[in-house]
């Protein structure tokens, strides 16, 4: 059977794809710094996504309230901690962490968030992309320490994804394998 998307998924997915496209990372590689294969470039991509997600949660907060707002603020706080962690890992490898963009630049790429449902659909899609990105990084990062950090942050993102789904009135777990099977 052909996979189908709900309208909500399609809207959230398109918006998140725009955010990803705005993350940066498309410039030429630096001439100095960590050698290819060190994992620094991959960590830089994860960091660019984290910067965009932090900005996205700030936009979401404008239409959220009550317990939903409290929970998304807690999530955004953890995303900011991930930014700091990734910046440290990149510096440890001899690299320069990519800076984030301005709030206005990110805002131009975000969908219009009119109500809580819009914000939660957007947040769910971003969290799904983050979980997938960290799991893919697990397969590619060359060093055990870097993979451990990716697994730890990926676990946080999985909690965020489940929490956002619950806040949106959906089951926390979508299935036994979130992005693939053994």
């Amino acid at each position: 059977m052909a996979p189908s998307l709900t309208r909500r998924e399609a809207l959230g997915g398109a918006a998140a794809a725009l955010v990803l496209a705005s993350c940066g990372g498309g410039g030429p590689p630096p001439s100095t710094g960590p050698p290819p294969g060190s994992g620094a470039a991959l960590l830089g991509s994860l960091l660019a996504l984290e910067h965009a997600v932090v900005a996205a949660y700030a936009a979401c907060e404008e239409v959220l309230s009550g317990d939903t707002l409290r929970n998304t603020r807690a999530i955004a706080e953890q995303e900011r901690a991930h930014v700091i962690k990734l910046q440290g890992l990149i510096r440890d490898l001899g690299g320069e962490p990519p800076p984030g963009r301005s709030a206005a630049e990110y805002a131009r790429t975000f969908p219009r968030l009119r109500e809580p449902g819009d914000a939660l659909a957007f947040a769910e899609d971003l969290e799904q992309r983050q979980v997938r990105a960290y799991l893919e990084a697990l397969a590619e990062l060359p060093d055990l320490g870097l993979r451990s950090a990716a697994a730890e942050i990926g676990a946080d993102e999985a909690v965020h994804l489940a929490a956002v789904r619950v806040l949106h009135g959906l089951p926390a777990a979508q299935g036994p394998f979130v992005t693939g099977a053994l």
Partner: protein, 139 residues
């Protein structure tokens, strides 16, 4: 700490899955969990255990035997709230084990799938917190 082999890591994860599976089966029998939630979590753990057994079969190892129910489980089955708290703790330990294994396992083809189960255990933890009426879903 000595490095653990892939087989050791997989066996440890399978033992954790079997513990979770036994816990949800017992909770369903004793009505210590909402039926729909309990069946979903049990079915997910069954799928995880099946996948791990399959991965272990490829290594030529036999699956570890089931363990007897613990004192803690028996005590936790007295109420839905106590079982949910017990299960949150089990899921948190499973989550930590999967995070460790997904990073440490030598076979790179197993890292992403183990991470995918890790993400499911994280969702279980959130679902159980929700069942407890916990308004804070994120630690």
């Amino acid at each position: 700490m000595a490095e653990r082999s892939d087989v050791d890591l997989l066996e440890d994860l399978l033992a954790r899955e079997n513990r979770l599976l036994s816990a949800y089966e017992a909770a369903l029998r004793r009505e210590a969990i909402d039926v729909a939630l309990g069946e979903t979590l049990r079915d997910h753990e069954q799928e995880h255990a099946r996948a791990l057994e399959e991965a272990l079969r490829h290594t030529g190892r036999r699956s570890p035997r089931a363990s007897v129910p613990s004192h803690e489980l028996t005590a936790a089955l007295r109420s839905r709230a106590s079982f949910a708290r017990y299960a949150v703790d089990l899921e948190a330990k499973a989550l930590a084990s999967y995070a460790e294994a997904a990073a440490a396992i030598r076979n790179p083809r197993l890292r992403q799938p183990l991470g995918s189960i890790m993400a499911c255990e994280a969702a279980h933890e959130v679902a159980l917190r929700e069942s407890l009426g916990d308004r804070s879903l994120v630690d």
